[in-house]
Symmetry: C2
Subunit: 254 residues, 2 copies
């Protein structure tokens, strides 16, 4: 079977990880990579064709717009008469953001940081959406090369999933940030908490999170909660109070 | 070398995991297990001596009080004239909670749920404290049987570490609970988010959490933030607002 020809627009975290992954699969031909600032694509110099002018973009099987949410509409306007399938990679934007292009969505549900060299894409759910069965099939084909988990999902469900991801990934990471600060202030190396972080994440592989809840709030250990609040600065105290209250409310709902 | 003789007081999550682990090591003799309600120790029937009367407790090398924070002082009072080393397993209580017993602390820094069958103890930091070098050596000896990471830590540092753990483990798990609710309301299976949860936890193995932060808050993507807030119920909205604000504040501090 012929190679599938892919263009990628964008030089951020998502684009970088998609490009790194696509390069591993001989079934995929990376045709053109676009970034406004070519520095963002430096690691792919000599490996793929880099462009910084959208007028140079040639037709492909799929053109993936992996840019920040706010930039999608402007890219779509610049591609106005582009003749082939264009998809974005955003959780929160609907397919309609791509206006009157032949369009779809290719949303890999993962948290991407450039600094992380490798991601195991096999486990990364890829949520796709398109306007017709033919394009859906194209996106399924591409998704299956990367991942064992390709699902069709409409824009409204995808938006809900993205919000869930903000809680489970972005806010969770922020909890690590606050823990790190507390440890630093007390001269405790961050390494000490990494096995705990891993175990808590591992638990939910086979235990519903509500069953995995531990700690002073769910135990209703008011004495410890008070001691902790007394030890925290104003901004961490506010967070501790609100989350403790939420844990208690959810325990009662259980 | 002779076996080290251990008694364990308690039948909750920490006691259960310590007992399961100790049973794997031939160097450890589990002498007596105490719980007020012997049902809690049912899985150890026929494997160790179970008692539900503290007057029956015999001297040992180390007696580990693995009970809820609030119960430690009462156990200590009941053990008043007990002649050998007694340690508790609490992050937040000082060693003094054990009053005038020969005392110490043996704090495995991990989140324990009975429902999790196995924990890799080799990676679990064990923080110990004692009143004299002899007892410190005893606790080090026991700690080294289980873990590669045994450190002496005083009560005040241990308390800070415990607070960090509340953020990185208990509050993090609560973020998973909220994500789960959002997904359930939208008929999305929880499985879909597990790879994301794992990746976010994995990242901090080699990236400081502040560098690993992704999502609308750190990108200052106000449009997405507003859309998310509009989609959330009152209690999740409050949490979303506060944590978003905190992510932005910390970004500016960076």
């Amino acid at each position: 079977m012929d190679k599938i020809h892919i263009n990628i627009i964008g030089g951020g975290n998502v684009a970088t990880h998609l490009i790194r992954e696509f390069l591993k699969h001989p079934e995929i031909h990376l045709q053109q990579l676009y970034a406004r600032n070519l520095d963002q694509l430096k690691e792919f110099e000599g490996i793929a064709t880099l462009i910084n002018d959208l007028n140079l973009l040639t037709p492909a099987d799929i053109t993936i717009v992996a840019v920040s949410d706010d930039a999608i509409a402007s890219i779509a306007r610049q591609l106005e008469n582009y003749p082939s399938l264009v998809v974005h990679t955003s959780g929160s934007k609907s397919m309609e953001e791509l206006q009157n292009l032949e369009k779809g969505v290719f949303y890999p549900f993962q948290s991407f940081s450039k600094e992380r060299k490798q991601i195991n894409f096999k486990n990364v759910p890829v949520l796709i959406e398109a306007e017709n069965p033919e394009n859906l099939e194209k996106l399924t084909f591409l998704g299956n090369i990367l991942s064992d988990k390709v699902y069709e999902m409409n824009s409204s469900q995808r938006k809900a999933l993205h919000i869930a991801g903000v809680f489970a990934a972005n806010f969770t990471n922020h909890m690590y940030v606050l823990a790190h600060q507390i440890m630093k202030e007390n001269n405790i190396p961050f390494d000490l908490i990494v096995p705990l972080i891993h175990e808590v994440a591992e638990k939910v592989s086979n235990l519903p999170p509500i069953e995995a809840q531990t700690g002073p709030a769910v135990r209703n250990d008011l004495k410890t909660i008070e001691e902790h609040l007394a030890a925290l600065d104003k901004s961490k105290k506010k967070i501790y109070e609100l989350l403790t209250q939420s844990i208690i409310e959810n325990k009662n709902l259980k």
